[in-house]
Symmetry: C2
Subunit: 325 residues, 2 copies
């Protein structure tokens, strides 16, 4: 029987392209084009915490890379390289092959080279754990940081929010969905789209940006705190899919504000850039929606208002555990 | 009670120094000095596979970084940055604080900046898993690769081999050691020394190099295969500590050749560089020992000989699972 090391060599080793040295030595060697800086991030996915232990391995391979690509997208960086670590409870070739197919399908789409990694076995019954480190390039000084929001900016989000959370609720039997909507939402959970092209289009346009991985409420607050401002957001303006609009309002808001796993971009941009933001969305093939305004720092990093501009106390509606206050 | 995120912020966030942007955004931003390339590597450590689940957390923090620094040492790279991912079965502040102390004591000694990471919880009873990605700089084209060995080179190793394996045997009750020797060997297992300074001293001196993490027999074979040569090694020349010399010959050889966790450097260098190699060892404060010669590719990537130059068939002595053949 092949060892997991043979399996990894068989399924994960690809010829190098851009890297000076790829898989097979103690380190990979990477260059950096003049005028660029390297954007790096790492994300760990744990069975039972981030995905069901029986998750489809091809989809898991996709998601493991996608959540890391989303961090590059959030800075406006161009993806270049990845390192992949796997701790596997068993050496199951079919599983590894399917995981690799999902991983490389997305890597190839973004011209990401896998330049190294580590493969280990857990003890019997151990926890399947995956870790990716992602490397991108961005022109020096132009990366879109959380701290860049300016008073008077619009607040925007890409795509629709809450679909992945609704998909999770459906998988858990906590939400009823028509078959097509269920499939759509589960796809959004298991096969998220990193908004890499949108991030690139927003370089020089947006001011402050991050990706929404833990729900808009908490993540928008990160922009507010990092930028020393308050983001005033109108929940009625949130872009919701038809699947989410068909749900009870309380569930829909909960999914959209605190659901997690959206991997959409939340960003701020000056009013004068509205047309450029819309053009960026069109170029990237994703809708962009204005959801609020950046104010001087107020009572909280995120302030919720209704359509008449009246403060909404979402905490009274049971949202105080969202981390938005 | 503080969440693990509060704990991580408290124990792992340090002011940035060299990085353009450190912890706290979607990505860290790193520069690269002109004429340098970035050496990167990642290592995952899994409880029950790489360390005892009850391992001292300060020592574990040290080892988690040390095994990654050793990969930089093996290329002759200068350590710069690290990313740290932790999957924790529980949020135990004393454990996290001690882990951070061990990690940063070594990071500070090598001026390594922690620029980001990821902290997650495992499900109840999950496997504690750690992953570090390490970043170093090396002058373009000068990194010491496994493929650099040349016919006629000497084969060298740093330090002594097999002590960590003997320490593990002692912890398992499989070897009897005097208290001071036991302490020394367990320290070598739990607090390994990455030979970073030696790696730097060997730039421009050595030809092919790697770090010995899985035992000399298997790792020397990596050099042989990558370089298209055979390393002829004399087991009687291996540098052994007094602790290992006091053991039965069979156990001593097994520890020294297939023990793992040595984190010493194995390298080849031309005969004309012998004085420079010795000077490199002195400058780095570690012994270096000649253990063999590089031959044209022969029957195997590593050939074992006795003191009279006669071939030793270590497989007959039960070493065929070493991966050296």
């Amino acid at each position: 029987m092949a060892s997991e090391f043979d399996l990894i060599a068989r399924h994960f080793t690809r010829p190098g392209r851009r890297a000076h040295l790829g898989i097979g030595d103690d380190c990979a060697l990477l260059g950096l084009a003049p005028g660029q800086e390297m954007a790096v991030s790492t994300d760990m996915l744990v069975a039972g915490t981030h995905f069901f232990p029986a998750a489809d391995p091809r989809r898991l391979g996709h998601k493991t890379l996608a959540v890391n690509l989303s961090d590059l997208a959030a800075m406006g960086a161009t993806p270049r390289y990845a390192l992949l670590s796997l701790a596997l409870p068993s050496a199951d070739e079919a599983w590894i092959a399917a995981f690799a197919r999902g991983f490389f399908a997305l890597a190839d789409a973004h011209q990401v080279e896998l330049v190294g990694g580590d493969t280990t076995r857990t003890p019997p019954g151990g926890t399947l754990t995956l870790n990716v480190t992602i490397f991108g390039e961005v022109p020096v000084g132009r990366a879109l940081r959380r701290a860049g929001a300016k008073v008077g900016d619009d607040v925007w989000v890409s795509g629709t929010l809450g679909d992945a959370a609704l998909g999770l609720a459906a998988l858990k039997g906590e939400a009823a969905l028509a078959p097509a909507q269920r499939e759509y939402c589960v796809d959004r959970l298991e096969m998220p789209t990193a908004r890499v092209e949108l991030g690139l289009q927003l370089l020089g346009v947006a001011h402050g940006m991050l990706d929404i991985s833990d729900g808009l409420a908490g993540d928008a607050a990160h922009i507010g705190r990092a930028s020393g401002v308050s983001l005033q957001i109108e929940p009625e303006c949130l872009p919701l899919s038809s699947a989410l609009r068909g749900q009870p309002r309380d569930l829909a808001l909960r999914c959209a504000l605190a659901g997690g796993d959206d991997y959409e971009l939340c960003f701020t941009a000056p009013l004068a850039a509205r047309a450029r933001v819309q053009a960026a969305g069109q170029a990237a093939g994703v809708t962009v929606t204005r959801i609020g305004t950046v104010l001087p720092a107020g009572a909280a990093p995120v302030l919720w208002i209704d359509g008449e501009g009246r403060a909404l106390d979402l905490k009274l509606a049971g949202y105080d555990h969202f981390g938005a206050a």
